[in-house]
C-alpha cells in the first residue's frame, strides 16, 4: 500500500504524457470519425456513415490498393537489400566506421529532401535516370512520373533507397551477436556460405530482423511525404496512398469527419498487421 502511494505520483508524468499526446488524439480522431463535420454544414453525429461512404468510394479503394502494393513490395525489397548491405559491411575491416556512416546517410536525410532529389532524378528533361539510360538521345527521354507503372515504381524505388539503410543498421547489430565459434563450427562441418547464412546467421539475427520488419511495415503503411512531394497522387490518382487521400479530405476539402475515418482505418490496418506479425513471425523467431 505504501509502495503504491509512492509509485502513483511517480507514474503521473508518464501517464499524463501518454494520455495527452498519444491516447487523447487517437480517441479524438475516432470520435470525430463518427461525425459529419465541415465548416459549411457544421458538426452532426452520423454514426458509421463515414465508414459506409469510405467502403463505397472507388477513389479511396484505389488508394488502399496502391498502399498495399507499395508497403508489401517496398518492405520486401528493403529487408533483402538491408540484409545484403549488412552482410557486406560486416566483412569490411578497414574503414568500418566511415563506411557505416555512409550507409546510414539515406536514413538520416529527411524524407522530404530525399523525395525532392528523387523527383529530379526522374525528371523528363534533365533527370539523371534519363541521362544514365539514354545518354544524349534526347528524343528517347521518358517522363517516368507521368505513367502509372513507372510512377509507382519510382516511389517504391525512392523508399527502398531510403529505408534499406535502416534495415541494414538493425541487421548489422544482429550480426554482431552471432558467435564466431558457431560460424567456425559450421565451416568445419563443411557448410558452404549459403548454407551457413540460412542455417546459422539468419536464425540468429531473426529477432533483430523482426524489429526492423515491424518498424518498416508500420512506416510503409503510413507513407505520405514521398507521394506528396513526388507525384501528388498523379497520374490520375494512381500513386495516391491512404494517408494522402485522408489529407486531401481533411485539409484542402475540409471534410474533417471523413478524413478522420480514413485515419482510423489506416490506424486499424497498421495495428492489425503489427499484432499479426508479432504473433506469427515473432513467436517462431523467439522459439527457434
Amino acid at each position: 500500500m505504501r509502495q503504491l502511494r509512492t509509485a502513483l505520483p511517480m507514474m503521473l508524468p508518464a501517464a499524463v504524457f501518454l494520455c495527452g499526446f498519444l491516447l487523447f488524439p487517437v480517441v479524438c480522431t475516432m470520435v470525430n470519425s463518427l461525425y459529419h463535420d465541415s465548416p459549411l454544414t457544421g458538426r452532426e453525429f452520423c454514426g458509421l456513415d463515414n465508414y459506409r461512404r469510405l467502403a463505397g468510394d472507388d477513389q479511396a479503394l484505389e488508394t488502399v490498393e496502391f498502399t498495399f502494393i507499395f508497403a508489401l513490395s517496398s518492405v520486401a525489397l528493403e529487408m533483402v537489400a538491408g540484409v545484403l548491405i549488412a552482410l557486406a559491411i560486416s566483412r569490411v575491416v578497414l574503414g568500418r566506421g566511415p563506411l557505416r556512416a555512409v550507409v546510414i546517410l539515406p536514413w538520416a536525410v529527411p524524407t522530404v529532401v530525399a523525395a525532392v532529389m528523387w523527383k529530379y532524378i526522374f525528371n523528363d528533361q534533365y533527370g539523371l535516370l534519363n541521362y544514365l539510360v539514354y545518354g544524349d538521345s534526347l528524343s528517347m527521354y521518358r517522363a517516368w512520373l507521368a505513367r502509372p507503372a513507372t510512377a509507382r515504381l519510382a516511389i517504391i524505388a525512392a523508399d527502398v533507397w531510403k529505408a534499406s539503410s535502416f534495415v541494414a543498421l538493425i541487421a548489422l547489430a544482429g550480426l554482431q551477436s552471432v558467435p564466431q565459434q558457431l560460424m567456425e563450427a559450421a565451416r568445419i562441418d563443411g557448410a558452404g556460405p549459403v548454407r551457413r547464412f540460412f542455417h546459422v546467421t539468419l536464425p540468429l539475427i531473426r529477432p533483430a530482423l523482426l524489429v526492423a520488419l515491424l518498424f518498416r511495415v508500420m512506416d510503409a503503411f503510413r507513407v505520405f511525404d514521398l507521394v506528396f512531394v513526388m507525384t501528388q497522387g498523379a497520374p490520375a490518382g494512381q500513386t495516391s496512398v491512404m494517408q494522402y487521400f485522408g489529407y486531401l479530405k481533411m485539409f484542402p476539402e475540409q471534410q474533417y469527419g471523413y478524413g478522420a475515418a480514413v485515419s482510423v482505418v489506416v490506424f486499424a490496418i497498421i495495428a492489425a498487421l503489427s499484432v499479426l506479425l508479432v504473433r506469427t513471425v515473432g513467436r517462431r523467431g523467439l522459439v527457434e
Binding site: S38, P39, Q232, E253
Partner: protein
C-alpha cells in the same frame, strides 16, 4: 485620398464601428495581413510603407504563407476555422470567395465596396468575390490564360498566329518538320494533376462550346479527345513530361527555346522577355488562345482579391489597408514592377502601365471576357474530382472518355448534394 475615397471610408467606419473597431484610446493598431510568399517582396514592402505613411495610426504585419494556392488555403482555412483573431486581412484566390462567404469567414463588404466603386473593376473579378448577392472581397489583380508563340519560327515558315487549335497543331507540325530538332516540341502547357489542369482544360472545353461541370457533354468529350490525341499523345507535339508540368516547368521549356507555342498566364511575358533567363527574348508573341471551329476563345479567369476576416478585431483599419492595396496607385505599382494585370479597368489606359506591359493593351478584351471556374463553396472537392478525371482522360492514350466522364459527373453531383460531411 480623394473626396470619394473619404466618403467610402466614412461609410465603412459607420458600418464597422459597432463591430469593435479600434477605439480612440489606442495610439497605434497592429493589423496582420496573410498572403502567399511573393516573388517580389520589395514591391509589397513598398506598398505597405506607402500605407503606413498615410495611416500613421496603423502598423501592418505581413505574414507570408506558402506560394502554392492550395497550401495557402490549407493554412488560412485552419486559422479561420479556429476563429483566429490574429488574422485581419487575407488574399483570396479567385475560387475561394464562395466558400469563405458561405462558411462565414470573410466579412461582407457591401457598403464599403459600393456598387459605384465596383464598376471600376472588371466585371468578372467582381463577380468572383460576390456570393448570394453580397461582396466579400476587393479584386487585387486578375489573370487570364493567353497563348505565347515564337515569332521567329512562325515567320520563318510563313505562318500566322493560329485561330483554332487545329491550326495550332498544323503550324507546330510544319515548324517541327522544318527544324528537325529533337529537343523542340510544338506546345507546352500545364497538364500535371493540379488546379492548373482544370484551368487549361476549362479553356479547351469551353472553346468547343462544352462545360467542365457537364463532363459527359458531347462538346466536352470532343475537346478532351483532341487534347489527348492531338496534344498529349501526338509524337513531338508536347514533351513526354507534359503530364507532370505546372506553370514553372512549362515556362522553362518555352523560355529555353523548347516549344513553338505555350499557354500561360500574363506573368510569363516579362520572364520570356528577360534576356537573363530567357533564350527567346525578342522572339515572343502573345495572342488570344485558339478555339475550335465555330467556338469562341475562352480564357480561364485567375487572380486574387483581398478579404477581411470575420474574426478581425480591427475591421476598420483592415478596410483602410484593403482600400489602399486595391487603389489605382498600388495596382499601378504592381503592374509596372511585377507585371500583374490590374483588376481596375482605368489602368489599361495608363501610360506607365502600358509602357511596362505593352501586351496589356491588346489583351484587355481577353481579361474582360475571362471565364470563371465553377463557383461553389465545395469547389476544392469538385476540383479534386475534376483533376483526377481530366488527368486520366488526357493522359491515358486508351482512356474511355465518355464512360469516365459519366462517372465524374455522377461523383460531382453527389458532392454537391452531400454538401460537406
Amino acid at each position: 485620398m480623394d473626396a470619394r475615397g473619404m466618403c467610402v471610408l466614412a461609410a465603412a467606419g459607420l458600418l464597422l464601428a459597432g463591430c469593435g473597431g479600434g477605439g480612440p484610446e489606442e495610439a497605434v493598431t497592429g493589423i496582420t495581413v496573410v498572403t502567399w510568399r511573393p516573388n517580389s517582396p520589395a514591391t509589397w514592402d513598398r506598398a505597405i510603407e506607402m500605407f503606413e505613411e498615410a495611416n500613421p495610426d496603423v502598423r501592418v504585419e505581413l505574414q507570408t504563407g506558402p506560394s502554392s494556392s492550395t497550401q495557402l488555403h490549407d493554412m488560412l482555412s485552419q486559422r479561420l476555422r479556429n476563429r483566429d483573431p490574429s488574422v485581419d486581412v487575407f488574399v483570396m484566390d479567385v475560387v475561394w470567395p464562395p466558400e469563405f462567404a458561405a462558411v462565414g469567414w470573410a466579412r461582407p463588404l457591401d457598403e464599403a465596396f459600393g456598387p459605384g466603386e465596383r464598376e471600376r473593376f472588371f466585371e468578372g473579378t467582381v463577380e468572383a468575390v460576390t456570393w448570394e448577392g453580397s461582396v466579400y472581397g476587393v479584386p487585387f489583380f486578375l489573370d487570364a490564360g493567353v497563348l505565347y508563340y515564337r515569332t521567329d519560327l512562325l515567320s520563318r515558315y510563313g505562318l500566322e498566329p493560329p485561330r483554332t487549335w487545329g491550326e495550332m497543331v498544323l503550324a507546330a507540325d510544319s515548324v517541327l518538320r522544318g527544324e528537325d530538332d529533337p529537343s523542340l516540341y510544338g506546345y507546352s502547357a500545364q497538364m500535371a494533376q493540379y488546379e492548373g489542369l482544370v484551368c487549361d482544360m476549362l479553356e479547351l472545353v469551353g472553346s468547343a462550346g462544352g462545360d467542365l461541370m457537364e463532363p459527359a457533354d458531347e462538346a466536352t468529350v470532343r475537346a478532351l479527345r483532341f487534347a489527348r490525341d492531338s496534344l498529349v499523345h501526338l509524337e513531338g507535339m508536347t514533351p513526354p513530361g507534359i503530364l507532370t508540368y505546372q506553370e514553372q516547368e512549362s515556362l522553362e521549356l518555352f523560355a529555353s527555346g523548347g516549344a513553338v507555342f505555350h499557354r500561360n498566364w500574363p506573368y510569363a511575358w516579362a520572364l520570356c522577355a528577360d534576356t537573363a533567363g530567357s533564350e527567346i527574348a525578342g522572339n515572343v508573341g502573345i495572342s488570344k488562345l485558339p478555339s475550335f471551329p465555330g467556338g469562341e476563345t475562352v480564357s480561364a479567369l485567375g487572380g486574387w482579391s483581398f478579404g477581411i476576416s470575420a474574426y478581425s478585431p480591427h475591421p476598420e483599419e483592415a478596410w483602410r489597408f484593403v482600400q489602399h492595396m486595391t487603389s489605382p496607385e498600388v495596382q499601378r505599382v504592381f503592374a509596372v514592377e511585377v507585371g500583374k494585370p490590374p483588376a481596375r479597368r482605368a489602368l489599361y489606359a495608363d501610360s506607365a502601365v502600358l509602357a511596362a506591359n505593352p501586351h496589356f493593351g491588346p489583351m484587355e478584351a481577353v481579361f474582360e471576357a475571362a471565364a470563371p471556374r465553377p463557383r461553389s463553396p465545395l469547389y476544392p472537392q469538385v476540383s479534386h474530382r475534376l483533376q483526377s478525371f481530366l488527368h486520366e482522360a488526357v493522359g491515358d492514350s486508351g482512356s474511355r472518355i465518355p464512360e469516365m466522364a459519366r462517372r465524374a459527373a455522377d461523383d460531382i453531383a453527389e458532392i454537391l448534394e452531400r454538401a460537406g460531411g
